[in-house]
Amino acid sequence: MDKVNILEHKLVSKHIILSIEEEESFLKKYNISRNNLPLIKTSDPVIKALEEQENILLKGRIIKIIRPNSPAGEGIYYRYVVE
């Protein structure tokens, strides 16, 4: 049996780390600052799993989330990683 990888659980939407350039253009597009974004904690299991998988620290980064089961087909959301 494989090791439990929560990123593959049905309820976990796809989390994508935005590159620094993408972050800038995203913030510009919506004309907002990081502090006005929805948050996700560094202690969040998904963030921990991503950090391990990518081997980087994510505090201060912006995560793009692709949500299934949306009236739009796919819903797009962003969260700012905080402690």
């Binding site: 049996m1 439990v4 929560i6 593959e8 659980h9 049905k10 309820l11 976990v12 939407s13 989390h15 929805p38 948050l39 996700i40 904690k41 969040d44 299991p45 998904v46 963030i47 989330i65 949500r67 089961n69 949306s70 009236p71 739009a72 087909g73 796919e74 959301y77 969260r79 905080v82």
Partner: protein, 397 residues
């Protein structure tokens, strides 16, 4: 006549970024279907229809300033008066009861860490999901078995301060245990001085040394509920066939541990305990789960509420990276406005805190502006009318 390629190409070109993916996909499917079966479109017709889809989509958009929060709150609150208070049978298995209706909705928005009826629906992996025997095996791994569960009878020997457990071989086998396991487990209990197995009687006898009767009784109760195997928090596990697959349903929930059980398809295992989902799978999964759980209750009650309202509620609850309660200790309690907080609950507490912290109320919310008697900053209140005053001295300008 318009070819399928033409239809796809034009829809892609015209609808792109103007409508949602869902509508894009549906348009393609419907147009091609219609083209093939009902009426062959001319190219001009395709253009017109594609443009009209964009137009109609724009017509259906929310207006800026729309108080969507209030509408969501009302859309979820109003049907509350029509919901039942009863606990109903679980849709899956008749034997498991689950709280539904208004109490369940309240439980969800309260973010109760221990919901009144936690249950799990556990899918099995390829190896186990088609076989009844395998499914039962997995269920046994999950279900907790206590000493009491495998005993025919228990007795206290007051004179020798002993506790006798008369075992039931059949039950031991049912639970997938062997004698050695049980004795091993019992040996780990510190209070037991000596442990003996009487094969003729099929009885385990535990000596406890010199202790009072009261203590002996208390101890025996503790031994009775000593878990021999299974997962903490799960009281019962049952299997049920759906289609050609077996699922395990449990009363009680322990999401983290169940995911690790061999035979379980951890990608599809579900619990109705939202807080557990938050702890194990994170905020986004919790948000999805809040939506599904609320939707589930409303569906069961036959009440229609647009999914967008539930989504907004869930997003509001998950805004800060953890699940916030709807109420004093959550969203409302952390509002920036002093007046809004004070008018909700614990009025003086919020006023005193505001004074101490020297807070400023910027009057950006609804309640604050109602309190001071100003138009609220929603809907038509988001825009101001600016009128050019004619300067009497410079009429020409």
């Amino acid at each position: 006549m318009a070819s399928d390629e033409f239809i796809l190409e034009r829809l892609d070109a015209i609808l792109h970024y103007k409508v949602s993916d869902a509508i894009m996909d549906e348009s393609k499917k419907k147009l091609i279907d219609y083209n093939a079966n009902v009426h062959e479109f001319t190219e001009a017709e395709v253009e017109i229809i594609a443009n009209d889809i964009v137009l109609e989509y724009d017509k259906a958009r929310v207006d800026p300033g729309e108080p969507v929060g209030t509408v969501s709150a009302q859309s979820l609150g109003e049907p509350g008066t029509q919901m039942t208070l009863n606990t109903f049978h679980y849709a899956g298995v008749a034997e498991i009861n689950v709280t539904l209706g208004l109490p369940r909705i309240i439980e969800i928005v309260d973010v109760r860490k221990d919901p009144s009826t936690p249950v799990m629906t556990i899918a099995l992996d390829e190896e186990n999901k088609y076989s009844r025997d395998n499914a039962i095996m997995v269920a046994r791994r999950i279900e907790g078995t206590t000493v009491e569960n495998v005993a025919r009878q228990t007795a206290l020997d007051v004179i020798n301060t002993e506790f006798h457990v008369y075992l039931d071989s059949e039950r031991i086998e049912d639970a997938g245990l062997v004698m050695e396991d049980i004795i091993k487990k019992l040996k780990k209990v510190k209070a037991i001085e000596r442990i003996r197995y009487d094969e003729d009687e099929n009885t385990i006898i535990m000596s406890l040394g010199d202790i009072s009767l009261f203590k002996l009784r208390r101890f025996s109760q503790k031994i009775k509920i000593l878990p021999l195997k299974g997962i903490k928090g799960i009281e019962r596990a049952m299997i049920k066939k759906e289609g050609d697959e077996y699922f395990v349903y449990t009363e009680g929930s322990n999401f983290a541990d169940v995911l690790e059980i061999p035979g379980v398809d951890y990608k599809l295992a579900m619990t109705n305990n939202i807080y557990e989902i938050y702890e194990v799978l994170g905020i986004e999964a919790a948000r999805n789960s809040i939506i599904e759980e609320i939707q589930n209750v409303l569906d069961e009650q036959g009440l229609e509420v647009d999914r967008r309202h539930i989504m907004l509620l869930a997003d509001a609850m998950c805004l800060e990276g953890d699940i916030q309660q709807i109420g004093r200790h959550g969203i409302t309690g952390e509002k920036a406005s002093v007046l809004a907080r004070a008018s909700f609950e614990v009025t003086t507490g919020h006023l005193l805190e505001a004074a101490r912290e020297g807070e400023k109320d910027r009057l950006t919310g609804v309640t604050e502006n109602v309190i001071v008697g100003q138009p609220i900053p929603l809907g038509t209140g988001t825009v101001d009318l600016v009128m050019k005053v004619i300067d009497e001295d410079n009429k020409e300008a």
